[in-house]
Symmetry: C2
Subunit: 227 residues, 2 copies
């Protein structure tokens, strides 16, 4: 996964490189539920783990907080945020619209390498169906999302879509219990196949609609689960 802003700064200073590394690490831990919502992080413990002082670490936590993944409270701690079902509904409604826009605004026809990546993801999804695992699923989901984003040349749209995805994917993952996991994985594998078919013939607008419909169905299943 890439950074939110300026992911590929060449000649990045050592300080910035370290910042990016810490940021990506902590963000992934939150997104992959290694730090589930409600977890209280200790600045000092993290600083020690990464071998830095609290100061640069706090800079990273500040960015994560500005993205809505953390919330620091004076005298209490730094807590991984949770999202209630109402806010989740709003984000999903918005993500559906943005998925459609992904196929409309500055679509980028996939080159051979991108297509190969799609096929790779597709293959990995088959392996996942055979051997369901929550964490592998989460990782594949993230990779697929990132790859999907590369189909639009509209950078602000990519940024915003990623932001919303990061805020909510972990909540969806949390609500999906082990019992429904194989079923969800099957749906996901099907989605990849559908989108791959559209991407292969270069119909990115269709891919957007397919993605939209899958987001919609995914959320409908989620609502049924949380009842």
């Amino acid at each position: 996964m890439s950074m939110v802003r300026e992911p590929d700064e060449r000649k990045a200073s050592a300080a910035r490189a370290r910042f990016d590394r810490l940021y990506a690490t902590l963000r992934d831990r939150i997104c992959l539920l290694e730090y589930p919502p409600g977890t209280r992080l200790s600045e000092e413990a993290l600083a020690e783990e990464f071998g830095v002082s609290r100061t640069p670490l706090r800079r990273v936590l500040g960015w994560l907080e500005s993205q809505g993944l953390l919330k620091s409270v004076h005298g209490v701690g730094t807590i991984v945020t949770d999202v209630d079902i109402e806010e989740l509904t709003q984000v999903y409604q918005l993500r559906m619209e943005l998925a459609e826009l992904l196929g409309k605004l500055s679509p980028i026809m996939p080159d051979a390498k991108t297509l190969a990546q799609f096929h790779d993801i597709h293959k990995r999804s088959f392996d996942l169906v055979a051997h369901p695992d929550a964490r592998t699923f989460a990782r594949l989901n993230m990779d697929f999302f990132q790859l999907h984003l590369s189909l639009t040349g509209n950078e602000p749209l990519r940024e915003i879509s990623e932001r919303l995805y990061i805020q909510t994917s972990r909540i969806w993952l949390k609500l999906t219990s082990a019992k429904e996991l194989p079923e969800e994985i099957a749906y996901f594998s099907r989605e990849i196949a559908d989108i791959l078919a559209a991407v292969e013939i270069g119909d990115l607008e269709a891919a957007g609609f397919i993605r939209r419909s899958h987001i919609s169905m995914s959320f409908t299943r989620l609502k049924k689960l949380s009842k």
Copy 2:
């Protein structure tokens, strides 16, 4: 204008209140071109001005950087970002789509107070036509935008729209020279009247389309100017 996240925390601690104050102040200075793009800010000077040490100030600067308004470079300084015409194009395309969504996703019918605020903005726009002034224009533009956002109940959409607006409105303001100012103010006043008409009869979807068309025309004029 409101904060990006959690604007109305009740029982906010003194530390958080100070943070919000500094953040809003600096953000407004950047948006109102008090700090034009390219300006190099000094952490120490700002810290002294606000009567705090560099540490809490750096927290504020970090948030502004994560929003894309600043960029800190080690050994050089903290620079107010600029946006090139290409990125501006992408943001405008996206903002047009989002304006349409504002009238579709969870529209909130304006109450009497909100309507009164619209009328107030409308009146202020007339005063502005009579006495054109860049800074007053910028402020009114921001106020109108915020008021417009209150027409949707979709909080993530509000957040994202505000983010894009803050990133680009100052660039548009910068490119609009004094010569075209009265003309732009006239267009703006007209837009307010149009949207007010739609809002008064409760047709928020129409308001979204009107806003979209005005954003489109505004950007077309901007491209003509920058040629």
